[in-house]
């Protein structure tokens, strides 16, 4: 259930910004396109009162440490609780454009040069997260904005985890959080200690597959959650898709490797994938 705040109420609560339009809300955040007093376009996210504060902290910590063109930039974090006037919001750069979901329509296949350019940039952003030991854990089309120039920006770090600060997460083993369609096998199994940056590589492998083939590697309309989990953990049917088999071998190798069930079989890091995609750009 998305967390919705009427735009009028939001404007009343945050009068220092001019509210332009509501953006797609998340389960725990209502998002708006706003302008600050200098007229700069920004994205303001009002955080739900029942939001897990540790998760907010994680998100802020993650965002504060990154400066990369393919990762959303944090502008400000506000948390105040004066009597009768509670404010809890994140202000990020406003990314004009669309979300990736609009470019990943069923049956629509990207050209390989387009895929190479877009995903090279995406993996560059992921490599920046990797360098800081941050795992996003919820990469999906709605968490990747596409700028008007076509370049991707990773947003929404609400589920991000700093690998060297495991105490920051209170997610118990077995509790699956994130978006199942882009879960990795280790997320389906709910084994917290198996989640690392290669979890994000699996999700990005689903996205790359979707872009190249025009369909999700595991999802189908009538699938149940348990069938989806089974497919993610066990099925290699996606490798037999005719459109996959007509891809040049190098593209099959890198896409297939991102979708390996076992973390050890996936690429070692995002920078490696970025370099390979650059290498095979002309193929």
């Amino acid at each position: 259930m998305p967390f919705n705040v009427p735009i009028d109420q939001a404007q009343a609560d945050y009068p220092e910004y001019t509210f332009i339009s509501p953006l797609t809300p998340g389960e725990q955040k209502a998002a708006f396109h706003v302008k600050d007093t200098q007229g700069q376009d920004l994205c303001l996210k009002i955080i739900a009162p029942n939001y897990n504060i540790d998760r907010v902290d994680r998100e802020i910590q993650a965002l504060q440490s990154i400066s990369h063109p393919n990762v959303v930039r944090l502008i400000e974090y506000t948390r105040s609780s004066k009597p009768g006037q509670q404010k809890h919001c994140i202000v990020e750069e406003f990314i004009e454009g669309t979300d990736l979901g609009q470019s990943l329509q069923s049956g629509q296949q990207w050209s390989r040069p387009d895929a190479s350019v877009f995903f090279t940039a995406l993996f560059s952003g992921l490599a920046a997260l990797n360098d800081l030991n941050i795992v996003h854990r919820d990469l999906k089309p709605t968490n990747i904005r596409v700028r008007t120039n076509g370049s991707p920006v990773i947003i929404d770090f609400g589920l991000a985890r700093l690998l060297d600060q495991s105490s920051l997460t209170d997610t118990p083993d077995g509790a699956a959080i994130g978006t199942p369609q882009y879960f990795s096998p280790e997320q389906c199994r709910g084994t917290k200690h198996d989640i690392d940056h290669r979890t994000d590589l699996f999700a990005s492998g689903c996205l790359l597959y979707q872009a190249l083939i025009g369909k999700h590697p595991f999802w189908r309309d009538d699938i149940t959650r348990s069938e989806l989990y089974d497919a993610i953990c066990e099925s290699n049917d996606y490798l037999d898709e005719p459109d996959f088999l007509t891809l040049p071998e190098q593209w099959q190798v890198i896409t297939g490797r991102l979708l390996k069930k076992e973390r050890a079989d996936r690429p070692h890091n995002a920078a490696q994938v970025e370099a390979i995609l650059q290498k095979i750009r002309e193929i």
């Binding site: 200690h193 071998e249 190098q250 890198i254 076992e262 973390r263 050890a264 070692h268 390979i276």
Partner: protein, 400 residues
């Protein structure tokens, strides 16, 4: 990590290794605290560096409860023995370990740091946790010394029986923030591993590590060094004793007797057999054409020739000859950086060995020592690797 053959230190290796390096065999040395005290190790590491070899120190936490007088000379020994019962390490002891690793590796001017780690066993997440902590200590030291830190991945006997268990261990190991891997595999007690299935698992595990793009040093490879470069390893460690020809846990346990092999005749390691033949007993039973094919010489085998009686060749020289021969072949293979090509080079050598063994059998000689038991199975295992893991080789090619 230097590419090519490395010397795996064992009992009385110090001068043995110098002779090998003087003959141009080997690119580096892996010091074993079980076999040389720290003072001597420091002195010899200078000599090895003087011979243009790289030096690594294997802290040997494999059987942490074991100790001997040589190991006790190293500051790392305290941590080893302390964790033997609990398989845990408390923070204060981790600090002790950091200091100890720093002291040893800086004293030896090590060119890389091999992280301490226990043998990985099936169903033992506690060992993974412990190894992660041990690695983090090592990484601190490696970074402080400005040298690469290699994660030690020794797959124990309990784990080698299942592909899935090995994968889980490798998923853990590859999550470490390391600069390469020191990889070993525990086989059964055979003199040289011969099971097609298990050899394939060892090679597959190595290939998985190599696909990270980080360098892999195949530890305790022995004659299996022929296969190392074919599964993507960058280095392969070779020692002169049987218990260095595969990872042998018993090497870090109490020795029941003096050992030494008694008055056994020397075994001649032939690169064309990729195995040994008893010298002179078996060699002299063969026709000269086969003798000529078998006697592949090194600077340490001049005493052995088909025109002489072969008698009196010291067993010690047979060991030197074997290590030099393996190093020479591995060096030739290592000159090519493509693992698929290297796997095929190994296959060519193994095919020659299989044929030669068949010719020996046709000549009416049945070799002792089961020395012809593994070549065919290694060939099959390597073929399986190339066929079943073709995509991994493709991926390695993309990384290059």
């Amino acid at each position: 990590m230097r590419r090519g053959p490395w010397h795996q230190f064992g009992d009385r290796s110090q001068n043995f290794v110098i002779e090998q390096l003087q003959q141009g065999a080997g690119v580096g040395v892996i010091i074993s605290p079980r076999d040389i005290g720290m003072d001597h190790a420091i002195a010899y590491s200078q000599r090895y560096h003087g011979l243009d070899a790289h030096v690594l120190f294997d802290p040997q936490f494999y059987v942490p409860g074991f100790s001997n007088t040589k190991m006790e000379t190293y500051p790392t020994n305290l941590t080893r023995t302390t964790i033997s019962q609990t398989h845990q390490i408390m923070d204060p002891l981790l600090v002790v370990l950091v200091n100890a690793l720093h002291a040893v590796n800086s004293s030896l001017s090590a060119d890389g740091l091999i992280a301490p780690a226990l043998i990985y066993e099936a169903g033992r997440p506690d060992i993974m946790q412990l190894n992660r902590r041990l690695f983090s200590a090592a990484k601190q030291v490696g970074d402080a010394l400005g040298i690469p830190t290699y994660a030690t991945v020794i797959i124990g006997n309990s784990a080698v029986a299942s592909d899935q268990t090995i994968k889980e261990i490798l998923s853990h190991a590859t999550s470490l923030n390391c600069d390469g891997f020191y990889y070993g595999f525990e086989f059964s007690s055979e003199r040289i591993p011969s099971s097609r299935e298990i050899v394939l698992r060892c090679c597959t595990g190595g290939l998985t590590l190599a696909c990270t793009g980080l360098p892999v040093l195949h530890a305790f490879a022995g004659p299996m060094a022929l296969l190392s470069l074919g599964f993507g390893a960058k280095g392969s460690a070779i020692g002169h004793f049987k218990n260095l020809w595969q990872f042998t846990r018993s090497r870090w346990g109490p020795t029941p007797d003096q050992g030494g092999g008694g008055n056994a005749p020397p075994r001649f390691f032939s690169s064309s057999l990729w195995g040994t033949i008893i010298c002179p007993d078996e060699i002299i039973q063969l026709p000269p054409t086969l003798q000529n094919q078998i006697l592949t010489h090194s600077p340490f085998s001049s005493q052995v020739s088909s025109s002489r009686s072969f008698s009196g060749w010291p067993v010690w020289d047979a060991g030197k000859h074997m290590v030099h021969t393996i190093c020479s072949v591995v060096s030739v293979i290592a000159a090519n950086s493509d693992p698929r090509t290297n796997a095929n080079s190994a296959l060519t050598i193994l095919q020659g060995a299989v044929t030669l063994h068949q010719n020996i059998a046709t000549a009416g000689l049945s070799l002792r020592d089961n020395t012809n038991a593994y070549q065919r199975n290694w060939q099959l295992a390597m073929n399986d690797l190339l066929t079943n893991h073709s995509r991994d080789f493709d991926y390695l090619a993309l990384l290059s």
